[in-house]
Amino acid sequence: MCDTCGCQLHDHHHHDAKVVEVNRSLLEANQKQAEANRHHIEHMGAVAINLISSPGSGKTTLLERTIEALKETVRIGVIEGDIETERDADRIRAKGVPAVQLTTGGACHLDAPMVHGGLHVLEHFAKGGGYDLIFIENVGNLVCPATFDLGEHRRVVLLSTPEGSDKPAKYPATFKSADLVLITKTDLLPYFDFSVEEATSQSLLLKPDLEILALSATTGAGFDAWLSYLNQLLHHKSR
């Protein structure tokens, strides 16, 4: 009789323990899909930007203004992530640009498989026309989106002046994962206790080669630098 399970049968025995070395990331499935998304986006002829920030720091307003400035020369597509509603996609469509709304139904971030679905819909909207620049507006959240590569080429983190300049220190993972930090709503600087110097130095502490720009989508101050960042990216892509 088997000592381990008390059974009478001897031919089904495989109680021998086995240790399997794995050493693989828990995010492996997401990472594979993200790489596939990146290839897909490049195949479409585009570069993609993942926009991350707290809710209400001006991601959609930034996009509206960016579309107004570039839509005559750059073919733009937008994937919008929100827990609920088509509001953001409607705002983008009102600017004459294709937009796909991904409603996560509660999930606090977008992941690569969701974006994969969005890319196919966006491709369908283009009717064979293609894109130069795809914006993926993540769910408003300064924590969870940092963990998930979506297949973007650049990650842009927004920090609006009413949020306070201590955010890079308090949410290091997100700011550390950024390629560019955009300080937004600079027109409100006179009314809030926000130190551009603190936000900048704290961000650079996390990632010394981080690019940082400051702008106001309302007044247009600093917007040229953002547009030339995008143009440089597009130029780099086409070479």
Binding site: H14, H15, D16, A17, K18, V19, V20, E21, V22, N23, R24, S25, L26, L27, E28, A29, N30, A107, C108, H109, D111, V143, C144, A146, T147, F148, P172, A173, K176, L205, L206, K207, P208
Partner: protein
């Protein structure tokens, strides 16, 4: 808040491994959560222990988590140091409260930049 979906992807990975190695049950799972991975240890453990019940293969799996201390590089002297996160209970003991901002133990300046620590790794699995 995304710990549950990470725990689910761990369960999926385990099911795949059990199938690959023709095991009937998974007994132990060792995972490393990096200090800057954005994953909360307790939430991840909680999620895993709920989800493992849904599968016969994972029901008996014991999760062992390794959470290394955060490592910083000093932007002034260039030396590395591991400085543990302060814990709420530190406040109970006045002598153990840690200074903020954190200081480099080598040069005492405070320009410390987090180094690595984003890892979420399934190290090894024991199965039968």
């Amino acid at each position: 808040m995304h710990e549950l979906s990470l725990a689910q992807s761990l369960i999926d990975q385990l099911l795949g491994l059990a199938k690959e190695h023709q095991a009937d049950r998974i007994t132990k799972v060792l995972v490393t959560l990096g200090p800057f991975s954005g994953v909360v240890r307790d939430s991840f453990e909680f999620g895993f222990n709920i989800l493992k019940e849904s599968q016969a293969l994972t029901r008996d799996a014991e999760l062992e988590l390794e959470t290394p201390d955060p490592v910083y590089i000093c932007l002034d002297c260039g030396k590395l140091s591991a400085i543990p996160f302060s814990h709420p209970s530190d406040l109970l003991d006045i002598h153990s409260s840690r200074p903020y901002p954190k200081k480099c133990p080598w040069c005492c300046l405070s320009r410390l930049s987090p180094k690595g620590g984003n890892e979420l790794i399934l190290n090894h699995v024991e199965m039968e």
